[in-house]
Structure formats: C-alpha cells, structure tokens
C-alpha cells in the first residue's frame, strides 16, 4: 500500500461524485488535472508512484460513484508506456486489446493495440472507429487501423487480463453501492404498515446481496495484492502476470453480477427500473463489465485449465504457494 492512499481516496470520493453524469469533454480535463492518470507511473518518471492496491481502491470508488470515464484504461496505458520507457502523449490513451472493443476509442488521443502481431501505440489519426455502446451507454468502439504506429511496445503481458482486473475493482464498488441504495430504499419505503426492511423475506434477500458484494470486494483485493506481488517479484508470483488470481476474480465478478443484480432490482420494485433513479447506472455497468475483456466462459475456462494443468495436488500447492508469497517476511 502506498502511503498516499488516504489523501488519494479522499480526493477521489469528492471528485468522482462531481464528475458522474457529465459528458466526456467536460469531465476528462478535470480528472487529468487532478493527476489520477499517472497513478501507476513511478515517481522517478514524474508519476504518482502508486501500486495496484491503490488502483483497486480508486477504481472501486469510481464504480461506486458511477464515474463514467476511462480512468482504468488511461492509468494502465501510462503504466505500460512508462515501463517500456516510452513518453506518453497527452490526452486519453485507451486500448484495443485483441478483439475487444476500445472503451471511449473515439475520444482517445492515442490507442495501444495488442494483437497476435504484437503491441504498438497508434495516434488517433491512424484510427477509424465503428461506434458502439455498452449496456450503460458508454462508448465501446471497434478499431480499423488506417495508418502507422507511433512506436512499438515490447511487452509479454496480456493487456486484456489487466483490463479485466480493472472491471472487477470497478464492479466491487458498483455492487457495494447497489447494496447501499437497496438498504436505504427498503429501510424507508413503507408498505403494509411497516418498512420493507422489517419483512424477513426482504432481510434474507438483502443478506444474499451483501454476500455477493463482500465476495467481489475480497476478490478485487486478492487480485490487486497478487499484482503487487507480481511487480515486486515475490516468490511464486514472480514472472508472468498473476493470471490465476485475475481469472478467479473476473469469474467471481460474473457470479456476483448474476446473483446480486437481480436482488437489488427486485427489492427496489418499479422505482429501480426508472432512468432517473441511480440504481440503473450501477447495474447496467455491472451487466456490461461482466462481458468485457472476457466473459464468464472465457475466464472460467482459463482458470479451469490452470487448475487442471498439474493435477489436484498441484492446484492446492499452487493456491497456497501463491498466497504464502504475499506473507511479509519479518
């Protein structure tokens, strides 16, 4: 954990709430001015010097505050470029990773493209976009390249995996916020002469929603600490990206959305189905994030193959050796 996490989260709580619902042109400069873009860039390279745990906390706040901006994308892009020793251009940098659509592609100053041919940074002038929208109405654009890259990027990392991690952290914030909205609603809405929260059936359903929100928060944290362990080269986590933890967390996002979102809506009744009430801005994002950068089938299969590769004994040894690598050495 970086020492600056608390002031960082305080600032994020305020700013992200202000920016929610604003359009890209108005909101993006304010996010940039606040310095969040260089969160993962080392201080020696002019950045904030934060870690993946900081990013997870920040993205969780973004998810909860319904921040509709490509914060994760630009932070991860600038981390990657700094690591490769490439000067990052100003403005939004997003990703066209494998066949996944680029979040906010049409607004990007530059795009990191990763395919079987390698990884490179392209300027906006080299891109044409097929505009699309996520279930939450956010830009998700498909790229056709029409020009040359600015520079190629040497990386062994699968970038869609890192973006998948970002969706888990954002999802953890959104599901927790959906729980809060739901608790508030059932505690104030009176039917049959008492608040909805006084009905046992409602309490039991709320508990199930809370379980999913808790599981997702812990999964996001588990993936973040594995990423930090990986960057620090700790024990069994040294080497390749922590695919095991990220796959497990992204697959858990799928389950949490599957089980949690219907409960939040059910307990809200018709009010939760209106555009005006904030719940839909959380749940539409959650529904979309479940598919982005690999859906349930993709991540479950990847994890299933990792879990099976060495047999059952190796699975337990892997699970324990990886978490043991994170134990601080006194």
């Amino acid at each position: 954990m970086s020492e600056a996490r608390e002031p960082l989260t305080d600032m994020a709580e305020g700013l992200f709430g202000d920016l929610a619902g604003q359009d890209f042109a108005a909101a993006w400069p304010r996010l940039t001015e606040a310095g969040f873009e260089t969160l993962l860039v080392p201080e020696a390279q002019g950045g904030f010097g934060g870690d993946w745990g900081d990013l997870a906390v920040l993205l969780k706040i973004a998810g909860a505050k319904r921040l509709g901006l490509p914060l994760a994308e630009t932070v991860i892009a600038r981390w990657l470029l700094a690591k490769a020793g490439i000067d990052a251009p100003d403005g939004l940098i997003t990703f066209a990773a494998q066949t996944h659509r680029a979040p906010w592609g049409r607004h990007a100053a530059a795009v990191i493209v990763q395919s079987a041919d390698g990884c490179a940074l392209y300027p906006a002038a080299a891109c044409t976009w097929d505009h699309g929208r996520s279930p939450a109405g956010e830009p998700r654009d498909a790229l056709t390249l029409t020009g040359d890259p600015l520079v190629t990027i040497a990386t062994a990392d699968d970038l869609a995996t890192l973006l998948g991690f970002a969706r888990v952290a954002e999802g953890a914030g959104a599901l927790e916020a959906a729980l809060t909205l739901t608790v508030d609603h059932v505690s104030t809405r009176v039917q049959f002469g008492k608040t909805l929260s006084q009905f046992q059936a409602v309490q039991q359903a709320l508990a199930l929603l809370a379980e999913e929100a808790a599981a997702l928060t812990i999964a996001a944290n588990g993936a973040a600490v594995a990423l930090d362990g990986w960057e620090q080269g700790l024990g069994a986590l040294a080497g390749a990206l922590p695919l095991f933890e990220i796959a497990a967390a992204k697959a858990r996002l799928g389950l949490a959305v599957d089980r949690g979102v219907p409960i939040a809506h059910r307990l809200h009744g018709a009010i939760g189905f209106t555009m005006e009430y904030p719940l839909n801005h959380l749940t539409r994002r959650l529904m979309g994030w479940r598919s982005e950068f690999g859906g349930d089938a993709t991540w479950q299969r990847k994890l299933g193959r990792l879990a099976s590769a060495g047999g059952s004994k190796a699975l337990w040894e892997t699970l324990t050796a990886r978490s043991d690598s994170l134990i601080p050495q006194g």
Binding site: E176, L179, T180, V183, V186, S187, S197, Q198, Q200, V202, Q203, Q204, L206, A207, L208, A210, E211, A213, A214, A215, T217, I218, A219, N221, G222, F244, E245, A247, A248, A249, A251, R252, L255, D296, A297, W299, Q300, R301, L303, G304, R305, L306, A307, S308, A309, G310, G311, S312, K313, L315, W316, L319, T320, A321, S323, D324, L326, I327, P328, G330
Partner: protein, 379 residues
C-alpha cells in the same frame, strides 16, 4: 456499504516449512483412510492420527506452554487446519477440543479445569464435544431446559442434549444448562464441563442419512457433578456460547468439505479438460479461491483480537452454499453411474448424501442471513 474489509494474512514463522511438516505427517498415515473417511474428515475419528498430531505439536498450537500448548500464532494454526482439510486427514476426534473447548477453558475455566483437560487435549488424547442443542432447542438455543441445581453435594443435572457430534468418542462435554430455576431465555444459563463417564449419563448414537454414527443423544438422569464443574461465573453461559460462534463459523472447514471431490474431478479429466469441464472446474475454483481469501481475512481479524461476527456469517453462508453445490455440479458433468467403484463416482455419491449436513452445523442459512441483516442495520 462495506461489511467485509480485506486484511493481510500475515502469520509469523516459516509457513512453507509448516505446510511441508503437515503434508509429511499426512503422507505417513494416509494408508489407513478410506476415500469416504478422507472427505468426511472433520467427522472421522482416528486416535492414532490425533495423537501423532499432538506429538508433532499441531494440537493446542496457540495455547500457553504451561498447559501443554505451543504458543504458536493463531494464523499458523489456520495454516495447519486448512492443510489437514484439503488433504483429507481425519481430525474429528480432537477437532472440537482444539477449536472451541480448549480455548474456552483457557478464557473462562478454573486453574483446576485447565490443568485437568488442556495438556491431554494438546497431546491429542482427551476429546471434547459441545452440548448445546436439545430436542426443543436447536436454532433457538436460548430455550434450553436441561437443568443443573446447586446442592450441598454438587450440581444435580437432569435433561437431554441432542445432535452432539462425536459424544460417543469423547471424554467430556462442555454443556449449556439452566442453573437458575425459572429463568428465561438468555438469563440463568451456565456451562458445565461434564465428564461423560459420570454415572447417570447415557449416550445413544443417532445414525445419520449417510449411515454413519457421528451425532448422539445424551441423557442426564440425576447426574451429580462437583461444584467446580462450573466454567466461569454462574449465569455467563450465553455470553460464553456466543463468543465461540465466530470461531466455529469462519474456519476453512466451511468451504473445504468437498475439496476431495473437486480434486477427484480434476484428476479424472486430466490436464486438458474439454471446454465444458474446464468451465465448471474454473467456476468452482473461482469460488474456492474467493472463499479462501474471505476466510483468511476473517482469521486475520480474529487474530487481531476483533470479533468478525458478521464476516464469519458471510463466509459460512457462502461457503456452505458452495460446498453443497459442488457435488451437484460434478454430478451434472459426469457420466459415471453413482454405483461405480471409481473415486469420482464414490465421492459424488457420498457427498450428495452428506451435503445437507453442511448447512446445519454452526447455524442454518436463515440464522446466518439474519445476522448479516443485523449487520446491515435492518434488523
């Protein structure tokens, strides 16, 4: 609204070496155990193994040395537990003494009680059970009626306990009784440490739906106990019982009960499963990994001296749902006949039948969700 904060799992000492020690101990004894015993391992009784664990310093790990303990960190103990469970080692005999009864005697017991029970428990030789449920007191535990009356000779106990796991193999039962005549609900309850060879006690096993005798009825007919069988102050029984519950609810036993079946599935399909099987294994592994993270966070909170009451309820409810779903998921995947002799068929058949028990020990889903709802402030 956050009910569950992440916490670093940071035991002291050489944890990989500790795992190696446990794995070697299990390897030295595992030839004795059937597949079904290994998957039912915290209800399987093997005195030789319990004593071997005691000799290896793996029972009563956190207790003071003066009572036979080893003064290890509670998270080191957690590591030993999860290894034993994942490897399917039968730890049923000493399980309750190590998890609940020993710590409770350390906290509330008299010096005489500690000297009498703890060293033997830590050697893996003295076993204890928990006398809580009664025919009319299950989830509603405060309605216990078993009565203990203070007389000049000692406590006179009359009544009945039921669903007492392992009582027929145990030396003593920590028993919740009503010590104040006419008291209601949570008041007037105390706990007595009752030696089960005391005259007037009858233990009758109840065969469960797997065909196993693991739980029991205990009848107390005019049982006379010394006055120093009382644990802690008279009337503190309810407080003692509820203080134990987080210990009982958040441990690795709440999500690893079916681990042997996941392992058998992985070993049966080999290193390159087809898409559907890989997907099912991945889904189960995702839940396993998440539950392990949650359980470790709870253990870390307990180790810090805090009470993870709500977190423990969350882990147990999610963990039980996972354990109960696992055999159903495997059944839906495999083509084996459940009467087949292979590991996969035998484990699936056993766990399908055993799994209803997972959600009844330590609180039903409805009770746990009530605790979570209270944590959310709606109850």
């Amino acid at each position: 609204m956050q009910l569950f904060a992440a916490r670093a799992f940071d035991p002291p000492g050489d944890i990989p070496a500790l795992r190696k020690q446990v794995r070697a101990l299990v390897a030295a004894h595992e030839h004795r155990w059937t597949l079904e015993q290994r998957t039912n391992n915290w209800f399987t009784f093997d005195a030789e193994f319990s004593r071997a664990m005691g000799a290896a310093g793996l029972v009563g790990m956190t207790w003071p040395k003066q009572y036979g303990g080893h003064e290890r960190h509670s998270l080191e103990r957690y590591v030993v537990l999860e290894e034993m469970l994942a490897l399917g080692a039968p730890v049923g005999l000493h399980w309750i003494a190590d998890r609940q009864t020993g710590p409770l005697l350390l906290r509330y017991g008299t010096e005489t009680q500690r000297q009498k029970y703890l060293p033997g428990m830590a050697r893996g030789e003295i076993y204890a059970c928990i006398g809580l449920s009664e025919p009319n007191a299950g989830s509603d535990l405060a309605s216990v009626r078993t009565a203990a009356r203070r007389t000049p000779e000692g406590w006179r106990v009359n009544g009945q306990k039921v669903w007492t796991s392992g009582a027929h193999h145990c030396h003593a039962a920590l028993t919740l009784v009503r010590t104040e005549e006419g008291s209601q609900r949570h008041a007037g309850l105390s706990q007595l440490m009752i030696d089960l060879d005391t005259p007037g006690i009858t233990i009758r096993p109840i065969v469960d739906m797997t065909g196993t005798e693991h739980f029991n009825e205990i009848f107390f007919e005019d049982v006379l106990l010394p006055l120093d069988a009382l644990v802690g102050p008279e009337g503190d029984g309810w407080k003692q019982v509820t203080a134990e519950l987080a210990l009982e609810r958040s441990g690795p036993e709440r999500y690893l009960s079916c681990h042997a079946l996941l392992a058998a599935l992985i070993d049966a399909v080999g290193p390159e499963p087809d898409d559907a099987t890989a997907q099912a294994i991945g889904r189960l592994t995702s839940e396993l990994w998440t539950l392990r993270q949650m359980s470790m966070a709870c253990a870390a909170k307990l180790a810090a001296g805090e009470d993870p009451n709500v977190e423990a309820a969350l882990v147990k409810d999610l963990g039980n749902a996972f354990e109960q779903e696992l055999p159903r998921v495997v059944q839906s995947l495999i083509t084996d006949d459940l009467a087949d002799h292979g590991d996969l068929a035998r484990l699936t058949a056993w766990l399908l039948v055993a799994s209803p028990s997972f959600s009844l020990r330590g609180g039903t889903p409805e009770v746990l969700r009530g605790i979570i709802a209270r944590g959310l402030g709606v109850r």
